[in-house]
Symmetry: C2
Subunit: 473 residues, 2 copies
């Protein structure tokens, strides 16, 4: 078993927060990025294939945007077409951790991305596409990358490829790595050591901890007993159940049954996808320099011009996926056998490598259901939307990856319910946090939204309830 | 943790063997199948697409044979084209097990397949493609299938999709299931309860336990302590290390490092495949009613006419892949820290869903290297071929799947070596049997040849050494 990671909750936290704020505000000012919309036809460095309409970088690297035809014979929407990002290369999302004064710290960076609505967000130590780290665009080397390239030199805590948005990416995976170092590490400008406790508190701020940081954090084996040892006593029943869920054995369903359920669903679910031309894609049209769905819903494909003095490259243009509306990403959780269980949903998304992954209880953009059949409306959405405040344990709007998505935001929320037969459904199962941690040692079990929620649940181990902060950054 | 399975080694074994032989010989006589070569153009029920040359059943089901172009930029053979079987549907390989008089038994069947060189072989309880069990060909229902379709009714011991030959199948997976029943089961003609001990002894007979039975057996969680309890005392050091390897914790490499190594190799290995027409496939030609490689090596695609009185359908025709030459499939094993470790090889095959799987130390058809570059010659092949008899713990020729392959045979062998630096190589790792058992709970870690060898290693827990039997059947 890998060594588990405990967070610190030290007396110096309030001071740490004020100091972090100063560091972050200063960096945000110095790292300002100008992002201006540009028609797709005017994106220099990128071209649209005259026949297929596929959008591609002139170097042939980075990513392309093409068309995808999707058939899900037994789904509420049995067939559709959509633009999709093809990015077959596997990037690295790497987090360096180090014991400092007896407390584990993570090396994070403040980084601007063109799709971020607020410029700077907090990222893992390394966030590099293969094009980045092989320096296709001729930029500067990626700082700290060597720690993740020569894995024999350090202690690997976690190293697993995980999927990203299967609705927008075709078979995209990133390598999520956590590496522990013991030697001295020079902290260069824009980077900072923070404790897990600080990170967990910052997770409650809107649009601050970015998606890449959240997914890497979810893969850190995070255990209850060590956490309990450093926590103030006297948490409530929810809190006790959360800690038991992180550290315990067992759960409502044995692991063999959960794995069999995944096998069953992946065997019976039929999803057929086929690359098709982006030009003339049914339901989509190119107008005013962007690609839009005829309903005005789902997402647009837009172009942007990016200018910054501090990135590896000073300025560039690129396409982005711009979703319409804020999404809802929610776990229903319940105390069962003294352990907190989350209700995971076996979801098919067209971009998954292996048919189905386990997602949040609810994952959707509510406004889309104005143009979709009523059978497509997600199960349990009303339970989430009608939750009384005292049953809501986490509730923060967080951003998705700003390198590919423009102002993509989801309301991440954890809602407690009483267990009951209304949650018995062949596509849903109650699982504990330690069961999710076991699954996260392997690829393609938990989708990126569920992984974000796992990080959010870990963040509650300090108090059992998040205070919503909207004042950051 | 799932309950572990112990084999029985009871006093009645010799009687059991003679009785099994009578049952098997009688069944083989009654289940005779006539298989006659037929030119591919004359296969009734199948047609060759006039443009692409793809071979397809008129119903659109079962499987197709098309062309595949493969690029492995850093491989010893960086590019080639080949015919490949496309069979996207996921079948079921199911084994029923039951405690009878305190000893676990498996329900096996004797089944003929057109590609078997010896007609009848021993199979799991259920061996059904989706076309089989949805009865596309209008045949009889698959016996015992209901136990694997309604998994809520029984105790699931193992349920995982695993790949098959990535050199001949494109992304083929079967669902490997082991289900324990307690109720009385009617044993119909052609089926028989056997103990794990009997199965393990039968595994030493040539071409008897078929590939599907071997892969399901490999997924049975098989533990040392229970095995030890029923074994005669006084095994040798190899035997003790084998038992420790089945049951122990730990090993030369912690599991986190093994998973990281798999992630690293899957991230860095580049394999690009593309479906291309079978007609005009570079290096291959259609002559004398079959498809052959211009070197005469690798495999042919042939057609056969099949006649039998006892299958779900009395007669049919179909194409088969007919490999040239007998393959070599070998584990080098070594005693390290008192536990037997097998040297697994991270292999890329064009048909794998996820780039690379862990295979045997050596897996090849030695004769193919007369027409391949010398850099392609498998590492460690000479160690296997030059092994002294007393270092060979298992050595039996076994058949691959007779429903798709014609007379496809491999020499399966387990060779003990002393551990040493000559086995340190980035594509190889020493792993224990319990580590392989952990990996086998998940899809796509161990390839089908390695899984067969895991079943062979389990069979040695009775004695530590197999007596080679070539008299069966």
């Amino acid at each position: 078993m890998p060594r588990r990671i405990a967070q610190s909750v030290s007396a110096g936290d309030e001071t740490g927060t004020a100091e972090f704020d100063r560091w972050f505000d200063d960096l945000r000012e110095r790292r300002a990025m100008q992002v201006t919309p540009v028609p797709l036809d005017d994106l220099s460095g990128w071209s649209t294939h005259p026949d297929t309409g596929v959008i591609r970088h002139d170097s042939g690297r980075f990513f392309t945007i093409g068309g995808l035809e999707v058939h899900v014979p037994n789904g509420p929407v049995p067939q559709w077409s959509q633009p999709i990002i093809n990015q077959p290369e596997i990037g690295i999302l790497g987090l360096l951790i180090k014991q400092i004064d007896g407390v584990l710290h993570c090396l994070v960076q403040g980084k601007v991305e063109p799709g971020n609505r607020n410029g700077l967000q907090l990222c893992p130590t390394v966030q590099a596409t293969r094009s980045n780290y092989t320096q296709v665009h001729g930029g500067r080397p990626v700082p700290y990358l060597e720690h993740f390239r020569d894995t024999a030199r350090h202690r690997i805590v976690s190293d697993v490829r995980q999927s990203e948005q299967g609705a927008w990416f075709r078979q995209k995976r990133n390598r999520n790595m956590v590496v522990e170092v013991t030697e001295d590490i020079e902290v260069i400008d824009g980077f900072r050591w923070v404790t897990f406790g600080e990170l967990h508190r910052l997770l409650q701020a809107e649009d601050l901890i970015n998606m890449d940081a959240r997914t890497v954090l979810s893969c850190v084996p995070f255990a209850g007993p060590e956490v309990t040892a450093v926590l103030p006593a006297g948490g409530d029943a929810f809190h006790a159940a959360l800690l038991a869920s992180c550290s315990g054995d067992g759960g409502l369903h044995p692991m063999t049954d959960i794995l069999s359920w995944v096998t069953e669903i992946r065997t019976r679910t039929e999803v057929y996808t086929r690359e098709v031309p982006l030009r003339g894609l049914p339901g989509w049209r190119r107008e005013a320099g962007r690609i839009v769905h005829e309903s005005g819903r789902f997402f647009d494909v837009i172009g942007v011009d990016v200018r910054t003095g501090t990135r590896e490259v000073g300025s560039w243009m690129q396409p982005l996926i711009a979703p319409i509306g804020t999404g809802l990403v929610a776990f229903l959780v319940a105390r069962i056998q003294g352990m907190l269980h989350a209700l995971v949903h076996a979801r098919a998304e067209p971009g998954y490598l292996d048919v189905v992954e386990l997602g949040p209880t609810v994952q959707c953009t509510p406004e889309n259901y104005t143009v979709l059949p009523s059978a497509a409306r997600p199960r349990f959405i009303d339970t989430v939307l009608a939750a009384r405040p005292e049953r809501i344990h986490f509730d923060t709007v967080l951003s998705e990856e700003g390198g590919r998505f423009h102002h993509s935001r989801n309301r991440y929320t954890v809602v407690e319910v009483d267990p009951g037969p209304e949650y018995d459904h062949p596509d849903f199962r109650w699982v504990t946090l330690h069961q999710m941690a076991d699954l996260l040692r392997h690829s393609h079990y938990l989708n990126v939204q569920a992984r974000s929620l796992v990080a959010c649940l870990h963040s509650l181990t300090a108090t059992g309830r998040a205070t919503r902060r909207t004042d950051r950054p």
